[in-house]
């Protein structure tokens, strides 16, 4: 049963992600991505990581995909995008080579066989409980840092998408030929403006 489920999920995820990567249509790509993410959460459930699976569903399919959808609309990108892919061969060769390499690494005998678990799930706890136990003791600091990171991301998003970025104080876009005087004037007027 698990075997079947694994292969089912694995094949499907692979195919969906391939669509994401290869499709010319943003909409298809995004849909396939979202679907892939959902299926990955299936894998998580299979791996006794129920909480992670839930987070996966909530964050990815909920938050991330929503963001992407808004972005897609903003960029008006639901049409086919012409991409000049000059060297497909190189790309696939590289991808293949790295895949082979990773496979070799992962299939190599792992020396950690039989290593004692450092943070086993607490006895008799459900997965979310166990996760919570570790997360709020050992990993409290990363958790807080992650909170800071999300704050940073929020601020960044606000700033970058904000109106204030529409004009720039840092440059004078000089398109026509300019002579030194005008520039000095520009620099000077600015100075005066400050006072």
């Amino acid at each position: 049963m698990t075997t079947f489920a694994f292969y089912f999920f694995a094949t499907l995820i692979t195919l969906l992600f391939l669509v994401t990567v290869l499709s010319r249509n943003v909409l298809y790509a995004m849909t396939a991505l979202a679907a892939g993410m959902v299926l990955i959460s299936g894998l998580f459930f299979m791996l006794d990581a129920a909480f992670l699976g839930a987070v996966q569903l909530v964050v990815y399919v909920g938050a991330v995909m929503a963001l992407y959808s808004f972005a897609m609309m903003f960029f008006d990108a639901n049409k086919d995008i012409k991409e000049r892919n000059g060297s497909a061969v190189t790309v696939f060769l590289l991808g293949g080579a790295i895949a082979v390499m990773l496979v070799v690494i992962f299939t190599a005998p792992l020396i950690g066989q039989g290593v004692a678990s450092l943070y086993p799930p607490a006895e008799g706890a459900t997965n979310p409980q166990a996760v919570g136990l570790v997360l709020f003791t050992k990993y409290l600091v990363p958790f807080e840092v992650a909170a800071v990171m999300l704050l940073v991301a929020m601020i960044s998003g606000i700033i970058l998408a904000g109106k204030k970025m529409d004009f720039s104080l840092s440059v004078v876009e000089a398109t026509k030929s300019i002579d030194s005087k005008t520039i000095d004037n520009m620099d000077n007027t600015e100075k005066k403006g400050d006072k």
Partner: protein, 506 residues
């Protein structure tokens, strides 16, 4: 039912968190102030940030070395303290560069959030160096990186956007490789804490080809991520573009701070391999660093823009430093910090000199802000500025008695010592390659001096120091003095660094 967890506050050793908490708290304070009061002048924020950094430095100094805290997650050892100090001091020198002559000259400083993000970044980097848990390293790294991308983009020029997106995208890919590296490490040892990893590898042994594949693969994947941040070939490609696109002080800052943080991570991570005598990793690092310093030197040679040249030069300096990292001796590791400790004054100074002459319009070249021609004949127009810039260039090229020379000296010495101690003459070859690279590098630093001192002014658009202000002059003055008088503080610095590095066993 689950047992309640009881944790004593002392065992958490919260003091280990204090420096980062100060930075984060400071950032939040700035955000709060911004929330309640608009239109405060940037000078207020600059000073506030400096004060916070100052307290941060104090907190860092008061840390006890070789302590763990918070369920052994935090690790305050020598290299953590010394790298935090480098990060903080550089930040302290970087922030006042915001005080340009007129208030609204540059976009980023019009945001109070700029300073908050900056402090978040500092905190992220501090986390990154104060732990040996890959998870916290990753989260710290991402916190710092995301802040940094924004800080770059906030300069708000076309170049800065291009720079930010390039940096961001490559950073995302590098993050992927960091994760895969962590996966390999985790898969191999069942732990994401480096000290545990080291223990397990030590006890299991890594003999034979089959058992080394995974650790070696992990090292390769990690090296991609580290190489990206430290800018090693061929993961360096963002560097020149990002430096060119971002503001000059930011470029100078980037050439030191994120790198030193990542180097600490590399030291922790590769230290495991080196302690296990896996020579392949040393060779790997050395080969990459040699390629890095050589190619970036060659590319720097043909640049037309000073800032871009400095970008390539900082790549080559990073390659230089990485070579020492591969040795794993105490001296080599201390020399890295000594090097950056001395390099930061000079490099930041050089970028600051570019900064004060930054114009809003590109007056000398369609694309570049600081083409060499801009500095032509500078000695007659601005003799003092020319001399200062020349001193920075001489220092960068490793001419004694300026600061970088001492770093270089100690660093090469560590390579030579290693060779002599192990009897392996190939490390002498490494030393020779390193010095020959210095000689090549001297050419492009010299080129700027040649333009400043030996060429007549060719452009009627004379160089104006629009950004010059007392604050900037003070910072640059300090940097120049630190560069010139380095001979007098190298001894205590060396003593301090060596003490810190050796006390935690690196």
């Amino acid at each position: 039912m689950l047992e309640p967890i009881s944790v004593s506050l002392e065992s958490l050793n919260l003091i280990t968190l204090s420096p980062m908490l100060i930075a984060i708290g400071g950032a939040l304070l700035i955000l709060l102030i911004d929330l309640f009061k608009d239109n405060l002048d940037k000078t207020m924020y600059v000073m506030l940030t400096m004060l916070i950094l100052f307290i941060d430095i104090g907190a860092t100094f008061s840390l006890n070395i070789n302590e763990r805290g918070f369920f052994d997650l935090m690790l305050v050892d020598g290299i953590s303290v010394v790298s935090q100090l480098i990060i903080l001091v550089t930040s302290l020198l970087f922030i006042p560069l915001a005080l340009t002559a007129s208030n609204n000259r540059f976009h980023e400083y019009s945001y109070p959030e700029y300073f908050a993000l900056f402090l978040f970044m500092v905190a992220g980097l501090q986390f990154m160096v104060s732990t040996d848990n890959l998870i916290l390293i990753f989260v710290g790294l991402e916190t710092a990186s995301l802040s940094l991308y924004t800080l770059i983009a906030m300069h708000n020029t076309k170049g800065s956007h291009e720079a930010a997106i390039k940096y961001f995208t490559m950073g995302a890919m590098a993050a992927g490789f960091f994760l895969m590296g962590s996966v390999v490490v985790y898969a191999t040892t069942g732990s994401v804490e480096l000290y545990e990893v080291a223990k397990i590898l030590q006890s299991q042994g890594v003999d034979g080809l089959s058992s080394i594949i995974a650790p070696l693969g992990g090292a390769v994947l990690m090296l991609v991520a580290i190489g990206f941040k430290v800018s090693l070939f061929p993961f360096h490609m963002w560097t020149p573009d990002v430096y060119e696109g971002s503001s000059a002080p930011m470029a100078g800052y980037m050439s030191i701070v994120p790198k030193i943080a990542m180097i600490v991570v590399a030291m922790r991570f590769f230290g495991i391999y080196i302690n296990l005598n896996i020579e392949a990793v040393s060779y790997l690092i050395i080969i990459v660093s040699v390629i890095t310093m050589t190619l970036s030197n060659m590319m720097a040679l043909v640049q037309k823009d000073v800032k871009r040249m400095l970008a390539y030069s900082s790549i080559s300096h990073a390659g230089f430093v990485m070579a020492a990292l591969a040795l794993g001796t105490t001296k080599a590791n201390s020399s890295i910090f000594l090097y950056y400790g001395l390099f930061m004054f000079t490099n930041l100074g050089a970028f600051a000199m570019l900064w004060i002459s930054r114009h809003k319009a590109k007056r000398f070249h369609g694309r570049y802000d600081h083409p060499y021609e801009k500095f032509s004949g500078m000695i007659s127009a601005h003799p003092i500025a020319a001399v200062i810039m020349a001193i920075f260039m001489l220092s960068l090229s490793g001419i004694p008695p300026f600061s970088v020379f001492w770093g270089k000296l100690y660093l090469i010495s560590s390579v030579v010592d290693f060779s002599a101690a192990t009897g392996e003459s190939k490390y002498i070859v490494l030393a020779i390659i390193m010095v020959l690279n210095s000689a090549v590098a001297a050419y492009y630093y010299l080129k700027l001096i040649v333009y400043m001192f030996l060429k007549p002014p060719v452009n009627e658009l004379n160089l104006v120091y629009t950004n010059k202000s007392l604050a900037l002059a003070t910072v640059i003055g300090f940097l120049v003095m630190a560069t010139i008088l380095s001979i007098f503080y190298v001894q205590p610095l060396m003593e301090f660094v060596t003490y810190l590095v050796s006390s935690s066993g690196y």
